[in-house]
Every structure is written in C-alpha cells, then in structure tokens.
Symmetry: C2
Subunit: 482 residues, 2 copies
C-alpha cells in the first residue's frame, strides 16, 4: 500500500518551507514599494494555510517511505511548488493569465529560464526577486535530488558518480539526504555569496547582484533585465558570470573538494576534464569565427564566445550576444551545445556531460569489441568499471531524450510553428536552458505560444529537470500495481 | 599477416563480374543509338583488363580469409566498383567532372539515389540503364552483405535476425555466402521480373519498366525521368511501385517465406508488424493532412501519402509529390521517417526498423527495471531473448549514426548551407535515401555542392550502406596491429 498520508505530510512540510522563502520577498517589496506587497503577502498566507493544514492532519502518518513514495514525492514537490509559487504573479494581476503565471514559475523551479514576459523591467521588484528565488530554490532541490535522492531511486545511471559523495553512505534515505543536503547547500550558499560580492565590486547594485547570483548558481538564467546580461555593458561582470556559470555546471561534489583544496581530485575527474575541454574547444572555434565574421577585437571575440558557450552548455541561458544573427556555422555549434548540458551532480540540465562521455567511450570500444569479439572490454570511468546494466540505463536515457525532442517537435509544429522554433522550444525546455532558436531565440520569449503549448512545454521542463524516468515511471501501469 | 594477395584476387574477380554487368548496357546503347556506345565499350575493356590482371597475378593466393580480410574486401568492393563504374559517365564526357561521375556512381552502388544530374532525360539511354543497374547490383550486394557476411563479422547486432535465414548455418564464410546468395538472389530476381511485367501492363515501356524495377527492388530511387514517378501520371503505376517498394523494404528472408506461402512466419515477425504499423500510421496521418490542406480527393490523398511514406521509410527516394511544399506539420513527419529506414535484411538503408523496435522495447523495459531493480528483464524479439551485448551494439550503432549526422551537419554548414539543407543532405546520404530537404529536397539535386562536399557525401553514403562499423573499424589503430 502506498503511504499516501506520509506523502501529503512531507509535501505539506515542504510547502511550508516554500512559504518561508516567499516571506523573504517581502523585504525588496517593502524597500522598493512597487505595489506587489498585497500579492506576495496574500500568497504567503494561502501557502502557509495549505501547507500547515496538509502537514497537521497527517502528522500521525507512518514514517516509512519506499521508492514508490519517493518518486511521487519528487514529482509532486516540483508540481505543487509551481502551482503555489505562481500565486504571487497571478493574485495581483501582474501576469495576466494563470497559464502564463504557472509557466513562468515552473520555468523558475526547474531552473529553465524560459519566460513569457515581454517587459521584464515592468514587473515589481518583489516579484522579480521571487522569480529569481524560484530558480535558486530549484537549484538547491536539484542538487539534493541528483546527489542524494535519485541514486537511491536508481534513476538513469546516476548511481555512478555518487560513489565519491562525501557523507555517510549506504544508510537510509532520511539521514543521508539530510547530511548530503547540509554539506552541498553550504557550498551553494558560499558560491552565491562570493558571486554577489564580486558582482557588486563591478558596480552592480545589491538587488541585481543577488538576483543574478541566484539564477547563475542554479543555471537558471532569469535576469532582472529585458536585455539579460547584455544590459550590463561591463566585461568584468561578464567574466564573473562566466566563471560562476562554469562552477554551477560542475559537479558540486568537486566544488566541495575544491573548497578543501583537493585539486588532484578535480583534475583526475574525467567528466570535469571533458567538460573543460568542450568549453575550451567550442569557445576557441566560435571566438575565431566571431573574430573573422563580426570583426570583433580579440578580447571581445573570446569573451562573447565564452559567455554564450558556457551559458548554453551549462543550460543557464543568459545572453550577451544574439547567436541567431551570427554566421549560421557558428549558430549551429550553439545548437549542438544545447544537447550537452552540465555535469552530473551540478545544477545544469540537458543530457549531462557524463552520459555523453560514457556513450562516446562505449561507442569507441565497440570497434575494439568487433576486432576482439571474445574479450570482455568494459567502459571505465575514473578507473572504475561501468556495468553493462548502468550503460544500458544511460543509453536508454539518451534515446528517450532524443525521442521526446522528436515527438515534441512534431507536436509543436502542429501549433503552426516552423521547424527551427519547434526544435528550439523542445530542446530548450526539455534541456532546461530557456532560450532556444527561431521564435524562442535569445532575444525572443514564449508569450506567443497557445495555452496548450505552454502547458506542454511546462511538462517538458519538469520531465527534463527530473531526469525523465522519475516522471515517466509514474505512467507505467506496473508502478501502480502490487 | 593480412592476406593481401587473396584480397586483390577476390576484388579482381568481382571487378570482372562488374564488367559483365556493364556489357548488358551495350544492348540499350545499341538499340537506342544515343551515342554512348564508345564510352560503355571502352569502360568495359578497361574494367575487364584491370579485373583480369588483378585476378590472374594473384590466382596462387592462399585461400584463407579471416575477419580482417572480410572487412577490407567489403569496403574495397564498394569503393572500387564505384571508381570503375564511373568510367562510362566520364569517358564520353556525359558527366562533366570526375567528382560528379563518382558521386553519381557511388550513389548508385550504395542504392542512395542522390543525383548531380540536372537534366536526367539528357543522358543517353545506355548510361541511364547503367545508372539503374548500379543500384540493382548494389541491392544484390547488400542482401548478401546483411544476411550472410555482416553477421559473420559481428557488425552492429546484425547476428540477431539471421537465426532464421534459410541455408546451411555455422559453416565457413564461403559456402554459406554462396548458398544464401543463391536463394535470396532468386527471390530478388523474381520480384524484379514481376514488377517489370506489372509496370508494362500499366503502359510503361520496356526500358523504363526495367530501369524502374531495378531501382525499386534496390530501394535506390534513380528514375529515368527528371520528374521521377510523378512523370507517369498513372495511379496504377504508382500503386505497383508502392507495393514493390514495400516488399523491397521487407527482410528478404520473409519474402522467401512468402513465396513458399508460409504467411504465419511473416505475420508473427515483430519487425514486419512494426514496419506495417509505421507505414499505415504515417500514411493515415499524412493522408488526412493532405485531404484537409491540399483539398485532394480521398484516393489521391491516400495514394500520395502512401507513396511518399513508403518511399522515404524504405529509403527508396522516388517522388510523386514535393513534400517540401506540404504543410510544415506533414513535412516534419517525412523528416522523422528519414531516420527509420527499411527492415534489417532488406535493401533499405537508414537505422533500420529492427534497431528502432528493440530500442523502444528496451527503453520501455527500463521503467520496469526501475520498479523491480532486482529482476532480470531482458528484451525479447520474436520470443527470443536479446543479449545485453547485442543491445549494446545496437545502441552504439544508433549513437554513432546520430553523432555522424550532427557532425556532418556542422561540416556541411561550413560550406555555406542552411541548417535544413545540412540536415537533409546528411540524413539523406547517410540513410541512403537520396532526396532530403531544403536545397536537396525532392525536386532538387546535389550538383550545387562544392567538390569537397561531394566527396564527403560520397563517404557518408558508403558509411551508411556498410552499417557504419564495417568502415569505421578500418580507422581503429588496433585493427592494423597484430
């Protein structure tokens, strides 16, 4: 029997926590007085009331939760946070429809960064703060999810990189999640703070520095400015953001080692090496391309290339240059990057660099296996063998990922969009990037989608954020049997 | 030690056979007197001379050939057949450059059907016959390759569907290949003959009927008409071609059973069922779309949809309607079909329906494995378990396939092509389809590619036709060691 009571209890508790985060937004709301105080406070009251009720009436629930409860809780949390989190946008009428408010919120909690706003600066600053905060919370959620919860649920071969997570291993869900969360959130907060300080040193005001640091560390990409980071015409600020996007796209376990000065651990990590290689390679090629075609100077070519490459590969989605008006050869490189995604155990979305690395290795080894058909030639990662079962899971993940994009393209095109926009919206939402290509390109938005399109894309964001299987397993009839 | 002498000996022998095929073209050349007799006869002399010399001077070679020799022979045969096969086009100057002549010929032998000709009817009929014949020979080659040789070489999980190939099993390469070839070529010829007769009953003249039957059974798609099958404004002819394209896209082992009236074997075959389902499903959806958007009648909608769907899924590439000017939602369905390909053991190219079916099954089972992590849940095909090693090979195949398309798109775009053309050319050449989208769409051609582009696309055609690994293994350093 599914422990429904405990599910409601845990979700209720988490909704109460969402309420506390919402209270923080009252500070900028009061400071700036942009008129969003009623919307924020009424929303907080509703959220606390519902959360407390859910928690209170189920507080006698049996504490035992198994895997099935785990899947349901994870999916419910993202869904219910987005449902309640959209209230502040809707209650004051600052976002005109509930669909749009929900889209904007789930795009926040999934750290996607796709927006329906056509005039971002027009939103009151309390709400802009909430919008950034949803991403930061989403990033926190995803760190715990990917490094503590999913490995226990056995999703998508994510067991692999957890071997080295600091903290007690092979224990029960609860203490392990708690311990891991504590350590990793500490790092997350340290980096966020460092970025806030560095941005302010570059002349950004406190409000913008906090909001942008929130959405950088989450690889979310919501900006408080319509022109995204291009607004801040400062190379220094762009370099700071490049650095922190890169960090946010790195496995947080490695960041933990970095803060303890164990750099040997980092450089020996194959995923990190491949991630660094990809960033350097694509930056180099695109910088050369921009230098030739756009007549930019050396520094500007390099910075513009690095910014867009790191922003897309980490699935952040900040923009300093519209890559749709680059030479098509350079644009196509950016499109390729949309499929990579951040490192496993980072806040980045997409397929994830580790999966791509393992598939590349396995593919290369297939030719070896062809030549020596009787030899057992396993894929190795960081000197450990990767089992065939895990390789199978990883390959299945990538196939589903590609299949979902193909089917989504067809469905989106049925809403009268061209192929480029269909691909862009599907890849950017499933990959939690935000900006795509075509009508959802870097200087565009998602407002023009029909209502059903927005709900469909919201579903894609959640699917991608929760590593596909976490959501898909709920659709398997065998999940509900027993 | 590599048995080089025997490799040369076998290839020489096969080149002699190519010469005999070329002699057949002298008949239409003489009948029509279009002025291609010198080019054809001079080419035949050169081919016989080279083939005989190669065979004669190596006739004392040790008969033993292993797997390594097998790979090399297969690749060399397609390459050398194309090199020599392009002579008739070039010697008389009917195709202006050697690059174009080679492209046209390898596109024939790989049964791709991508053409550089801008005025097909302008070519003398002896050469048009040779052009069709290259595809028919390519089809013969591919049947033996996929059903007899590749399984022995262990390429791409192709062992799977060979279990039921009629003929002696578990014997040495030579007798097995011979026996399989005999039986399957018999079927190939029977179908070709049937189609010739049926097309002539529809009013097509002997020459066109033979040429089109050659290129239908090979799923090649070369037509003797600039307007492809649209030229024959006859529903009957279109239905005949739809039927035979469908047969050509079916595993020839099943056709063998069909001719022996063992229909139970066919209907129980899961790949055939999935293939039939895909054809019916896509035909239904597209027919409905054409009915609504184009105002075609019922019959014309259905026929136009069925023709294009079967032509693309089997990788034939015949055309009766320009799918690029359909509603974009319908065009996108055709683009999706470009990745499917024919059945394993057919003359069709692409990823192959069996691989897609197995990957879909495996992907579905992953959710089951997630729910029952300790159960062993193997993929089954036609009631047999598919080993993890073979699933691994199949998945690796599809990844390389997709990776090659992605890299090719980037390389083609560097030659100043837009994204649609880059995707179209890469998918249509690697998948051995012929027409793609954009500037290589159904009413376009490949003449506009730069020289390096044509050689690159020729390489893609060979790569796709030889199931990737057969070619790629030659680039592995470990292949040449030992």
């Amino acid at each position: 029997m599914l422990n429904k009571k405990r599910i409601i209890n845990i979700v209720g508790l988490l909704v109460i926590i969402e309420g506390f985060f919402l209270l923080i937004c009252l500070i900028p709301s009061l400071v700036y007085g942009d008129g969003d105080f009623p919307a924020l406070s009424v929303s907080a009251v509703i959220i606390f009331a519902v959360g407390l009720a859910a928690w209170f009436f189920t507080r006698d629930a049996d504490k035992s939760v198994g895997k099935r409860e785990g899947f349901i809780i994870v999916v419910l949390v993202w869904l219910i946070f987005s449902l309640f989190g959209s209230l502040p946008f809707r209650i004051g009428g600052h976002i005109p429809t509930y669909t749009d408010a929900f889209f904007e919120t789930i795009s926040g909690f999934t750290t996607t960064g796709a927006t329906i706003l056509e005039d971002i600066e027009g939103l009151p600053r309390g709400l802009l703060f909430w919008r950034s905060l949803t991403q930061w919370m989403g990033g926190m959620g995803i760190i715990v999810l990917s490094l503590a919860i999913l490995p226990l649920l056995g999703v998508g071969g994510m067991q692999l990189f957890v071997a080295e997570v600091p903290g007690p291993t092979k224990e029960k869900l609860h203490p392990r999640v708690k311990e891991t969360a504590k350590r990793l959130w500490g790092i997350y907060m340290i980096f966020t703070l460092m970025q806030i300080i560095l941005l302010m040193l570059g002349g950004m005001d406190l409000f913008d520095a906090v909001c942008h640091s929130f959405t950088t560390m989450a690889t979310g990409g919501y900006s408080t400015k319509q022109d995204s980071i291009a607004f801040f015409d400062s190379p220094y600020i762009q370099y700071v953001i490049i650095l922190f996007m890169f960090i946010a796209g790195t496995n947080f376990v490695l960041s933990y080692f970095a803060l303890r000065l164990r750099f040997d651990k980092i450089w020996k990590n194959e995923e990190f090496r491949f991630y660094s290689f990809l960033v350097l390679f694509f930056t180099g090629v695109i910088a050369a391309g921009l230098f030739i075609t756009k007549q930019y100077g050396y520094e500007e070519s390099l910075r513009t290339a690095a910014f867009q490459v790191v922003s897309v590969i980490t699935t952040t989605g900040f923009i300093t240059s519209d890559y749709m008006i680059w030479a098509p050869q350079l644009t196509i490189l950016i499109i390729m990057l949309m499929f990579f995604g951040g490192s496993a155990g980072s806040t980045g979305g997409g397929i994830k660099i580790m999966r791509i690395l393992l598939i590349l290795k396995n593919t290369y080894l297939e030719t070896k296996r062809l030549i020596y058909p009787n030899a057992v030639i396993p894929v190795k990662l960081n000197r450990h063998n990767v089992s065939q079962a895990i390789m199978g899971k990883i390959m299945a993940f990538v196939f589903i990922y590609i299949a979902i994009i193909a089917v989504s393209m067809a469905l989106i095109s049925l809403m009268d969009y061209e192929m480029d926009t269909s691909l862009g919206a599907a890849a950017a939402c499933l990959g939690n990037i935000g900006p795509g290509i075509g009508l959802v390109g870097p200087v565009e938005h998602y407002a023009h989608f029909p209502v059903k399109g927005k709900w469909f894309l919201s579903f894609l964001m959640m699917l991608g954020r929760l590593e596909l299987f976490t959501v898909l397993v709920l659709f398997a009839p065998s999940f509900w049997k027993k």
